[in-house]
Symmetry: C2
Subunit: 224 residues, 2 copies
DNA sequence: ATTAAATTTTAGATAAGACTAAAATATTGT
DNA sequence: ACAATATTTTAGTCTTATCTAAAATTTAAT
């Protein structure tokens, strides 16, 4: 297989990315319906594309059994994710965009084809390890620096940590976190946890705050 | 017509840009063949696209009589050119690309859709008036700052000026200019002009240099 | 073990953008 | 003026990426 600087279409790249993200959740092969939902398209369209990706040796596909990425497919997906996240850092760090504004633009920028561009952008940004949402940026070989992190919802009373990422990164959720004064790097401590509904009273900096279970399940923290 | 933030396809945008550039040369309507050559496509494909652009009120088209841009088409072309040139400035000024490396990448970046992105990029770059090749950058309304400039080939003996742009901006020509130590801002003086073939002996900084007519016809200077 | 329901695939259609070959129109040369 | 040439358009085909409707297969329920 060696090194292949093949260029793929916008659509192919988006499918690979979707499958990559779904593969992390699904234990078995990724289901056609799951891909269709993620891509906001129809299952029949997915089947067509999956066949094509299979032809190009980017996915393993057996009828009715879902798909998995091949090594080549995974590498390709990771370079797109790398580009996405680097561009997000650019938008936030250099152009002063807010973290809830960058995803849509990065969705476009991630498809720009130029190794040299990404290599220089990476240097320009100081070779960052994480994007504005706390997600790790794969290096040029597709290696991801894994870090210890837990969902805030898994902490017990009196445990504390630093917010290092969000699971959901919709604009709505990010804007809600702003209102709560929570962002990457914010110190959080669990003051109380309600048995009934999983809601929490937490210490954010010096102030108390009340958050729902749903919120706690979408915040990653690094415990100390 | 008012303000229309309609998004056009990659192909439509490229056609508009091509027609814009050809319109500056052609006195009459832009010929189908000319567009085909510029776009590296077939005349029949051009006819198809031109009909579509005409439907969308981006060009005026009468069978067999070539096309001209409408006001809407011209504005749209200018926003794409604005994006192209701003990205070129970014690539050279911020990522330290060389001026002969940026065009291809800018051809991709110019199609990213986001007003906010371009507005912020413009500010980040210091609202530049010219791109790395000396071409003017239209403002957000499509206004271009016109400057006095002549082709070096039109200067007479003993006239001098500052290089402010290139007509051709192929990588080959730009690399040749590097070898000749000529770039934007370089002071040039005509020491001699050969009647026979239009070649020139010029002063570049403190050194003499010999250039062909073809080279002189592709260099813009501002006389002092 | 059958039947019902959900999932997935196939078959056939559509739209965008490109192509080739042939027809229509315009331009040139004598 | 009229034939020869060049340009442009039309007609029909192809590819990519979608879609709908129907068939095939798997999974879940009785
Ligand atoms: Mn994102
Ligand atoms: Mn992100
Ligand atoms: Mn350029
Ligand atoms: Mn330029």
């Amino acid at each position: 297989m060696y090194f292949c600087f093949m260029k793929y279409s916008l659509s192919e790249e988006n499918y690979l990315k979707a499958i990559y993200h779904l593969e992390k959740i699904a234990a078995t092969g990724v289901a056609t319906n799951a891909i269709a939902e993620q891509m906001e398209t129809k299952p029949s369209s997915v089947t067509d594309m999956v066949k094509k990706l299979s032809e190009k040796d980017l996915v393993n596909y057996i009828k009715y059994q879902g798909v998995t990425l091949t090594e080549k497919g995974r590498k390709t997906a990771l370079t797109i994710i790398r580009k996405h996240r680097l561009w997000e850092v650019f938008l936030v760090d250099k152009l002063n965009f807010h973290w809830d504004q960058v995803h849509e633009i990065a969705e476009q920028l991630e498809h720009i084809h130029s190794e040299e561009l990404i290599s220089r952008l990476d240097k320009f940004l100081g070779e960052p390890d994480f994007d504005p949402h706390g997600d790790p940026i794969p290096d040029k070989h597709g290696n991801i620096k894994r870090t210890e992190k837990k969902l805030l919802s898994d902490l017990d009373k009196n445990q504390g940590g630093v917010c290092v990422g969000v699971k959901e990164s919709s604009a709505e959720f990010l804007q809600y976190l702003d209102k709560k004064k929570i962002t990457i790097g914010t110190k959080i401590k669990v003051l109380g946890k309600e048995f009934f509904d999983g809601s929490m009273v937490i210490l954010v900096g010096k102030d108390q705050s009340f958050i729902s279970k749903k919120t706690a399940e979408n915040l990653y923290v690094q415990t100390n």
